[in-house]
């Protein structure tokens, strides 16, 4: 309506366009980077092995990394809006420790070597991580008796995390053979992405985006405080409950396929917020794209830096994310405190 708003909308459209462009470029770059270098690209048509490397390994891995990052970015933006806390992240309600416990249990059952029965074991691990992540969040909701009280929710999240971590440690302690595999899950990795992972994560992302587009206005209203929001017909326990269930799904899907990727879900919304103020529909969209770009870029670095060796991508995201937050804190120390 007003010129200011038109300008903001046009600018947002450009941002989205630029991010989508960067995403495509990164995915293209993802096809070029790997332990065998550019070789498969040159021989793509002539050599069936090269075809397989590009089509069954590099492409799904790049798209999968992007989708996992997008899921985490979206969930982070929802979590920060719902808890009205800029330090909230997707793992806040126990999903990380739940997924770890699930993986530890699965590893114990499958005997620590996921290569024995590769597909079955892989499916088992992914499923176990997902089930673990979702049940941890459900347990948190149960402990907090619904989404009525934010503080109770956060505390329950901490309680569930601590207890699940303890159980995971007990399992690891009793069967030391699984330690290495468990460690690689905890660090996060995109090397097991398949087309199936992409389909699952893409589907969940779509569901999450539709749900958050429908509920974004409620998150906007919650900025005014729970009571004022309620006077506007926005009932926090209901909105919160629905969003937490969505968050458990999206986080579960991401960690099940990529492990515990650190900081993407925390940093992406922060980056988004430096472009969009308190319009959750736009913020969630932007944070989704930024999350995807961040994780895929980090994954490219992880694959390329020490090639042909690979770094676990979670280590890189943690380093980059920590550095970014540090910069953010020292850039505007006085005004950041109030936000």
């Amino acid at each position: 309506m007003t010129t200011g708003h038109q300008r903001a909308t046009t600018w947002y459209a450009w941002m989205v366009f630029a991010l989508l462009l960067i995403s495509c470029l990164l995915i293209a770059a993802g096809i070029c980077v790997g332990s065998t270098g550019f070789e498969p690209i040159n021989t793509f048509l002539s050599n069936p092995a090269s075809h397989d490397i590009l089509w069954h390994i590099r492409l799904p891995r790049s798209i999968g990394a992007y989708l996992a990052g997008a899921l985490l970015g979206m969930t982070g933006a929802i979590a920060q809006g719902l808890f009205r806390n800029p330090l909230a992240d997707p793992y806040l309600l126990g999903s990380a420790s739940g997924a770890s416990l699930g993986v530890a249990c699965a590893l114990m059952v499958f005997g620590g070597s996921p290569f024995a029965e590769y597909w079955l074991a892989r499916l088992g691990l992914t499923g176990a991580a997902f089930v673990g992540a979702v049940s941890a969040v459900l347990l948190t909701l149960l402990l907090a008796r619904g989404a009525q009280d934010r503080l109770k929710l956060l505390l329950s999240g901490v309680i569930v995390s601590v207890i699940f971590s303890a159980v995971t440690s007990v399992i690891a302690f009793r069967s030391p053979g699984i330690l290495q595999a468990l460690q690689s899950f905890l660090l996060g990795s995109t090397s097991f992405m398949s087309w199936a992972s992409c389909v699952v994560m893409g589907g969940v992302l779509l569901v999450g985006l539709i749900a958050s587009a429908a509920l974004a206005r409620m998150l906007d209203a919650l900025i005014l405080g729970e009571r004022t929001a309620m006077s506007l017909g926005v009932y926090q326990p209901v909105v919160g409950g629905v969003l937490i269930l969505i968050m458990s799904l999206t986080t579960g899907a991401a960690v099940a396929h990529a492990g515990l990727i650190a900081f993407v879900g925390l940093v992406a919304p922060h980056l988004g917020r430096s472009f969009v103020k308190a319009n959750h529909a736009k913020l969630i969209g932007l944070s989704t794209l930024i999350g995807g770009v961040l994780l895929l870029a980090a994954d490219l670095l992880a694959r390329g830096l020490l090639a042909p060796e690979e770094l676990p991508v979670g280590i890189l995201t943690a380093l980059l994310g920590g550095g970014y937050l540090c910069w953010l804190m020292y850039r505007q120390p006085s005004t950041r405190q109030t936000r």
């Binding site: 309506m1 009205r84 900025i223 405080g225 006077s231 506007l232 103020k277």
Partner: protein, 273 residues
Amino acid sequence: MLVNVSPALNETDAMTALSENPHAVAVKDLTVHLGETEALKQVDLTIPRGQWTALIGPNGAGKSTLLRAIGGLSGKVAEIELLGQPIANLTSRSLAQQVSWLGQNEQISSDISVYDLVMLGRLPHRPWLGSPSTYDHQIVGDALKRVHADQWRNRLISELSGGEQQRVLMARALAVEAEILLLDEPLNHLDPPHQADCLALIKNLTSKGRTVLTALHEIAMALYAHQIVIMDQGRVVFQGAAHEPQTHRAIENVFDDKIKIYPLRDRWAVLPI
């Protein structure tokens, strides 16, 4: 793009509605517990329609609790009727359209532009998805003008002073276009000229048939209202017209005679003893 918008409720409508149902709010035997304590004890109260009623009383008397209860913020209880309808029978959306609530000390948790914040007041009227209509934009522009906050429409709320923020929050409450406005300490943080503006705004609302119910700790300001409701320890102890001497005596009484209300030309001055 800013047009003077005629309010949804014009004066003839208001008069017809008034004759149908003289009470905006009716509270019957309402008791509210806050944790262990009884914050409201068997409150009976009717608030006349199209008037400004001020709730006054010592700290902790239950003024804010009563306002929240009437707004349905402590549950939709059967003891409260709005315009003849028990709030328990209203959907959240229609309740939100009928009642606008301005709280005190509500924290704004994230940075948001003044214009977007006031637009949140249109939420009860907007469809589930889709952007604000031309009418929504008109109402928001009009609300900002009425509190003289139009010049800050593109500023962030955190950049404004306490008094300026209060005016923006008032605009948010106006943007709901509700028939009943529940304002908890609307004069908070306002300097005297803007307090006067706010009083004039409230009078203007009631002249157009809206019902305004305020909790006020400044008694001198409350005496500008049509009606005074005095509360003490969770009970309504007196209700009367603001200009009646017996209302003034009741006010002095509830404050343990530590204040005195003196006539001053055609108004009153409230002084501590």
